[in-house]
Amino acid sequence: MDKKKPLNKELNVMVALDLTQMDPILIKYIEFLTTIFSIKQLYFVHNIKQSVLYSLYEDFISEDLAIDKIVEEELQRTIALNYKGIVPQQLIVTSDNYTESMLTDLAKENHIDVMVVGNKNALQGTGALCQKLVRMLDSHLLLIPDDTQHVLDKILVPTDFSADSAVSFQAARRIAERSGGEIEALHSYSIPSFFFPYIDTEKAHDETQKHLDNRFMQFQKKYFLPEDISFKYVDKQDFSVAETIEQTAEKGTFNMIIVSARGANNLTSLFIGSTTNDLLVRNRKMPLLIIKKQ
């Protein structure tokens, strides 16, 4: 497999459009991203789901309606209306029963580095496509919610001090270099006070935090991470890790969360990390970049 291109290099980005109100939001956000990333080529792509339209084809033919042409014209109109960037863009309209397979193939064919899809909340998306894509794609996946803002000055990177999360920091660093934003690392911990009721919880928190500070310093050294990354730890109490990340991101007015999916080889791509999976299912409020490790 090709080595993944660092995010501060020239990138090929593909944006999946779905003919909903999400399309203008995505296109405008991509236009914003072109001012931050160095994007070589932008692809807007839409797949016409034939299986959904089988029953309508008879009418279309009798009325001489070419559905692919109609879709293409509509997308061209939406792009023209919402995209004013200078990065060259190309529209691809395909026709297949399986959108996720088609997007995966197109991404491979066009050497795509980042695939961008909408993560609908108010627009009532099911999130099913994202769940499949994150397992199938080789490229990184960026999920954009419907009420996203065009700012990228605070990036949250959750960490468990693993090699996988180090990859997320590398990606965050490249983005921050270009956006001039800051990176904050987040680790959620819990103190098993239930089984040790007689320990001083205050003291335990202090000790844990000292230990975590040390651990983060070692982590920074080991993976050559920049020293200006601020490190935050949160007692997750009875919340899940994904819930803690979500709450911290909202409270801290972050603009993006970056997490790592595990490897992308044939076997491990089937198993993405459980926190990443939880975030993928739960988070519909903040752009989420899922980094695929080489």
Binding site: D18, L19, T20, L53, I67, A128
Partner: protein
């Protein structure tokens, strides 16, 4: 013509009790009958119990062995398969208890006092009467004795609880069905679970639970009596044991009366804390390095012999070792499963299937192994070094093993008292959570019932334990669980298929719903575009027609002119 099926509410009010009358009275009848028969035919009871146990072990042992292995495969598939991220109670459900309290409660309910009683007695018994390595190197026999105690108290038992617990939790919280055993069979039996078939399942579950609990209380009471003898010099006799049963029953009654969030939770927390304290003391005061070393070795040895031991059925030997060991244990675990499973289901809302399996299947197993390595492992080491005190103790009365074990430690009296507290607390937790579960099943799955109704079941368990102890002692109790567990083992295999089919059905339905929503949305969008195109076309046509008309009109004017 369509038939409308209406689910009837199984419970009704009877003398202020909220009960499913069929289940409630059938169980009461069986309890009265078994207690009376044991009291009337006390002398013959032992003989018939022995015949019963031999018959079930000889002809049904393989069913137990096959079933428990199926449960493990099933649980591992659920933990790591495609359904592992499904959350009990739906995607947005939140856990009712913290992780620590949840684990403490399920561990306390599931392990009972087996941890305390058998961690020493089992390896010693299997060392003295080895299943397979007779006449070989004593160290190998000792290792195999530990391996078999891991087999009997490890992952197989917790897999049984996991099957019942997960099934009931899923059907109760995801399908909103009553918290009774019958609910878990809905995918297989359909609406028949609300008829006599469901009643039979629930009656079997309650009876199995009552006898399983009685067995545990019987063993525990013997151990408490031995502890009182060791510490306070109180004689060990049936009279004192009956008094202890009454005391335990009274404590369990109080706890059950106060409900899940008070008595049961407080006692469960006490269990885990006292057990942790005893373990830490043994680890510090005992051979620390040996315990930690042997933990690793024991797990390795157990894993390397896992398949061979799990499927061993004594078929090429004409021995009857398994009858009173493996088969009895499978029967005992299974007879506890309706109760522990229901209890675990009751407290597991908000957990994912993966979390559930890690905390109900894997974690308790690892904790149990650690405890067995500390107590059983140290005992084996001492025996191999020539100390025969524990051999004598186990031969005399297995209930005394723990106290003899503590004799070698500094501050032995403290450890013995703590051990006694732990056993009392474990037994009371089992009895009170058992009463809550039986109450839930006999009330048709109600989560809230009148408090005095729970008291009835706490008392019933105590009475059965006392009478069976009087009628035939521990042998009678072991025989009863071996026999009553067998039909339930078959039901549990069916439960696996039922749960799988239920989850699969719901999962597919959910996927279809998602797909349909997306398809519908997409179709709507395309139709909107087409409509726009049609409007555009008709607008263009109209314009063309107008242009055509305006270009014709001047000509006609000219003609007129």
């Amino acid at each position: 013509m369509s038939i409308k099926v209406v689910r009837r509410d199984a419970s009704s009010n009877f003398l202020g009790l909220v009960v499913n009358k069929t289940v409630f009275f059938a169980v009461i009848a069986v309890v009265i009958l078994s207690v009376s028969l044991t009291l009337i035919f006390k002398d013959q009871a032992n003989y018939y119990f022995a015949i019963g146990q031999s018959f079930v072990s000889a002809h049904g042992g393989w069913i137990y062995t096959l079933s428990v292995n199926i449960f493990i495969v099933f649980c591992l598939y659920m933990a790591f398969g495609k359904y592992s991220n499904i959350r009990i109670g739906g995607e947005k459900a939140r856990p009712e208890f913290s992780l620590g309290a949840w684990f403490a409660m399920l561990f306390s309910a599931g392990i009972g006092n087996g941890l305390v009683l058998f961690s020493i007695a089992d390896p010693v018994r299997d060392f003295l009467n080895p299943p397979r390595l007779i006449g070989q190197d004593p160290a190998s026999i000792a290792q195999e004795a530990i391996n078999f105690s891991f087999l009997h108290h490890g992952i197989h038992g917790w897999a049984i609880y996991s099957v019942v617990g997960l099934s009931l939790a899923y059907f109760t919280y995801n399908r909103k069905m009553p918290l009774t055993l019958r609910s878990a069979f809905y995918p297989l039996l359909g609406n028949r679970i609300y008829g006599w078939m469901g009643d039979v399942i629930d009656i079997m579950a309650v009876i199995t639970t009552l006898f399983g609990l009685a067995t545990t209380i019987g063993f525990g009471v013997g151990q408490i009596n031995s502890g009182l003898t060791h510490v306070f010099g109180i004689p060990s006799s049936l009279f004192y044991q009956v008094i202890i049963i009454l005391a335990i029953t009274a404590a369990a009654t109080l706890s059950a009366f106060s409900g899940l969030n008070k008595g049961v939770k407080i006692l469960s927390v006490l269990n885990v804390r006292v057990a942790a304290l005893i373990f830490i003391l043994v680890l510090i005061l005992g051979p620390t390095t040996f315990i930690l070393k042997s933990y690793i070795q024991n797990i390795g040895s157990y894993l390397s012999h896992f398949i061979e031991m799990s499927t061993w059925t004594e078929s090429l030997r004409q021995t009857e070792w398994q009858k009173t060991r493996t088969i009895m244990y499978w029967g005992w675990w299974i007879s506890w499963s309706p109760f522990v499973g229901t209890f675990i289901a009751r407290i597991s809302k908000g957990r994912t299937i993966k979390e559930f399996m890690l905390c109900v299947l894997i974690l308790p197993t690892l904790v149990t192994f650690l405890w067995f390595s500390a107590f059983g492992g140290t005992t084996m080491r001492d025996i191999l070094l020539g100390d025969t005190a524990l051999i004598a103790a186990v031969n005399d009365n297995i209930s005394t093993a723990l106290y003899v074990f503590f004799d070698k430690f500094p501050f032995a009296i403290v450890l013995k008292v703590l051990g006694l507290v732990l056993i009392c607390s474990f037994i009371t937790t089992s009895a009170d959570s058992g009463a809550l579960v039986i109450d839930s099943i006999t009330s048709g799955g109600k989560l809230k019932t009148p408090a005095f109704q729970r008291v009835i079941w706490a008392l019933a368990t105590g009475i059965i334990a006392a009478v069976l102890m009087y009628g035939g002692g521990l042998n009678a109790l072991q025989t009863v669980v071996t026999i009553s567990g067998l039909p339930f083992a078959i039901l549990l295999v069916m439960m696996c298929f039922s749960l799988l089919s239920g989850i699969k059905e719901d999962h597919e339905k959910e996927e279809r719903k998602k797909m349909l929503t997306e398809k519908e949305q997409y179709r709507k969008n395309i139709l909107q575009l087409v409509e726009k195109e049609r409007e555009e076309r008709s607008r263009k046509n109209a314009e063309t027609n107008t242009e055509a008309n305006t270009s014709v009109e001047p000509n006609s004017e000219n003609n007129d002119g």
